[in-house]
Symmetry: C2
Subunit: 222 residues, 2 copies
DNA sequence: GGCAAAGTTGACAGCGCTCTCCACTTTCGG
DNA sequence: CCGAAAGTGGAGAGCGCTGTCAACTTTGCC
């Protein structure tokens, strides 16, 4: 419900503000359930408003998404920050990953926003804030010797990309199954005598963004 | 180049057969590179043929895909079967997974076909043939105590789903980076004293299919 | 060579989507 | 209570996609 817009320009007219809230409420519910694929027509219908109104309030899809998700995105950053306070470095790392994926499991729209709106302001800022924190999380775990040497923040950053499809797939079948896949991934990070060093060098910062951008190119329906 | 159609019905006219091959050749190249998202218009253009011709030969997208990929799908099954001949059960398992993902990394269309054409005849048959083999691979590894107790064939079946997005993302950036993610997953399967049992019970056969079906529902472009 | 069957062509119908536009309605300050 | 400014509705333009069809061309058998 953060309304930073009142400061910048003259407040909306009463009816306009009402409609704006309606749109946001409807969109929040619809996107949480169905993901970003929802069309503006569906949105308008659910908000009991005409398409034109939606477009007047939110000139493009991105501005609607930003209005909807900046708050939730903040929450993810908080999760990361809080995990730094957890004493055990392994627990801290696992806790953060698990917690943030739990949030995504409960909100499909948010999940897709995090993964596919790579170039939006919100996500660019988010990554800028998140990266140093995750680097700390990883550094602590490395220092404690609980994760494989060579594992980096970018490796953690790819985990949602890996678990995401399983999460989408299992949502209607076995909502909790993604935890199994996540568990496998997490155990794959743990330090363990037999493990060799990771193959292939790690990503550079801008390569990571480009990777996410490319990953959104998706298949040919059914 | 398998042509099982000559037996079933009267052979195609000379020009028709020529066009059919053109379409297949063009489609193979185009889909390998760009994935299943390629439209029939693009396909027709690349094959230097009209859209109508493509539709006459292949009434719907699925029949084209089946003609294109059954061979490659067979290859995957062979890979699995051959891996049973590898003496070391761990090497056998890792070898199969790695090899089959290498094939997918080199052919984007095939990768998407394997993951998204869940209900096609080819894929149904493929899974039916693959499942018992993968179960053997897993059973051998379990018997040798090299993988975590509780890991099943379905867990392996989800690996392509997890590595897939990384593969798509890194293709244009660092084509080999997916091996890093795969390595993490594979190490997550390895038996290791500290590891706890996997959370959440394993999938049933039909749940697995449904999961794949659901996983294809993808985000909202951009 | 002729002709029926087989094949080809490409314009076009239909769909769902994003986004625009303008005639109409509502709000709100004076 | 009035009028300008703000907001709204919804038809429809434009796009890319799937799939169709009727007029035309090619093939191959006699």
């Amino acid at each position: 419900m953060s309304d930073d817009r009142e400061q910048t320009c003259r407040p909306l007219r009463k009816d306009a503000e009402r409609n704006r809230q309606r749109i946001l409420t409807a969109a929040r519910a619809l996107l949480a359930e169905q993901g970003l694929g929802v069309s503006h027509d569906q949105l308008a219908e659910a908000a009991d408003v005409a398409v034109g109104t939606v477009y007047r309030r939110f000139p493009d899809k991105d501005s609607l998404l930003e209005a909807l998700f900046t708050e939730d995105v903040d929450q993810i950053v908080c999760l990361a920050q809080h995990s730094l306070e957890v004493a055990d470095p392994w627990e801290a790392m696992v806790g953060f990953i698990t917690r943030s994926l739990e949030v995504q499991a409960g909100n499909r729209g948010l999940k897709e926003f995090l993964m596919f709106n790579v170039t939006s302001d919100t996500m660019t800022t988010c990554r800028a804030r998140l990266l140093p924190v995750i680097e700390q999380i990883v550094a602590r775990a490395q220092a404690a010797g609980v994760i494989r040497p060579g594992v980096t923040a970018y490796d953690l950053g790819l985990i949602p990309l890996m678990v995401g499809p399983v999460m989408d797939g299992c949502r209607a079948v076995r909502p909790e199954l993604w935890r199994r896949s996540l568990d496998i991934v997490i155990e794959g990070l743990r330090a363990c005598p037999e493990k060799e060093r990771l193959p292939v060098p790690d990503l550079e910062p801008d390569e990571f963004v480009e990777l996410l951008r490319q990953a959104q190119t998706s298949p040919g329906r059914r």
